[in-house]
């Protein structure tokens, strides 16, 4: 069962992992994005994630569906958190499983790369010196428009 969700609470990696796996699968892959204590040489205390939630949820589902096509199975689970996150907190968890490992690595990577390209989510880093700034992101621009207009995903 393909699962895609935006959450406000702590992500438990074991829960996401438990959503994939099947008797016919030989490879399971779990990716966790975690808040790190540094960015571009600056010390970071925490990150606020903001989302355009009513759009981010369907976009996340769309990315998960595209990944399932590459994977060849419906064992894809992706959960993205929004709100105030501390160092070490999991911001995104992606679990996939498939008969062979090649597809699992490919599909897992696809999900995180597409999230970074077109999921309407932003993050504000809080620095050690008290300042905070929106992280410079990636314009979803034309690529995003083409994709969701169905003119060819990717």
């Amino acid at each position: 069962m393909i699962h895609a969700e935006l959450v406000h609470e702590t992500i438990d990696p074991a829960d996401v992992l438990a959503r994939v796996g099947a008797a016919e699968d030989g490879a399971v892959l779990l990716f966790l994005g975690t808040v790190r204590n540094h960015a571009d040489g600056e010390s970071v205390d925490g990150i606020t994630y903001e989302a355009y939630e009513r759009m981010a949820s369907p976009v996340l589902a769309e990315i998960a569906n595209e990944a399932a096509v590459r994977l060849g199975t419906d064992r894809v689970a992706v959960v993205h958190r929004v709100g105030e996150l501390a160092i070490g907190d999991v911001s995104v968890a992606i679990a996939v499983s498939s008969p062979h490992r090649g597809q699992a690595y490919d599909a897992s990577r696809y999900v995180i790369e597409e999230i970074k390209k077109r999921l309407p989510v932003w993050k504000r880093e809080h620095y050690g010196d008290g300042r905070s700034e929106w992280v410079e992101g990636v314009s979803p621009g034309r690529e995003g428009a083409a994709s969701t207009a169905g003119e060819g995903a990717r």
């Binding site: 989510v121 990636v138 979803p140 995003g144």
Partner: protein, 81 residues
């Protein structure tokens, strides 16, 4: 006709608002909306000339025609993950 413009993250901070109802002539496009807003002067002039836009929660090209009631989101460069 009237559309609802939404602003997130850095754009919301720039403008000091997350939402604006905007009156536009019938047949106006995304590009017309962006021009109308930037034409209002500061702080709207700090919006990019070609921001990423989602119409009704789907990324849209700037030549897309808007309809009354559309939800038009100005999407700053994204940084999820």
């Amino acid at each position: 006709m009237s559309v609802q413009a939404l602003f997130f993250a850095s754009y919301r901070d720039l403008l000091g608002t997350s939402k604006l109802d905007v009156e536009l002539p019938d047949g106006a496009t995304v590009a017309d909306l962006v021009r109308e807003l930037r034409g209002r002067g500061a702080p709207f002039t700090s919006l990019p000339k070609e921001p990423a836009i989602a119409v009704n929660r789907t990324y849209a090209l700037h030549d897309e025609t808007l309809r009354s009631g559309d939800e038009v989101a100005f999407i700053p460069p994204v940084a999820g993950g």
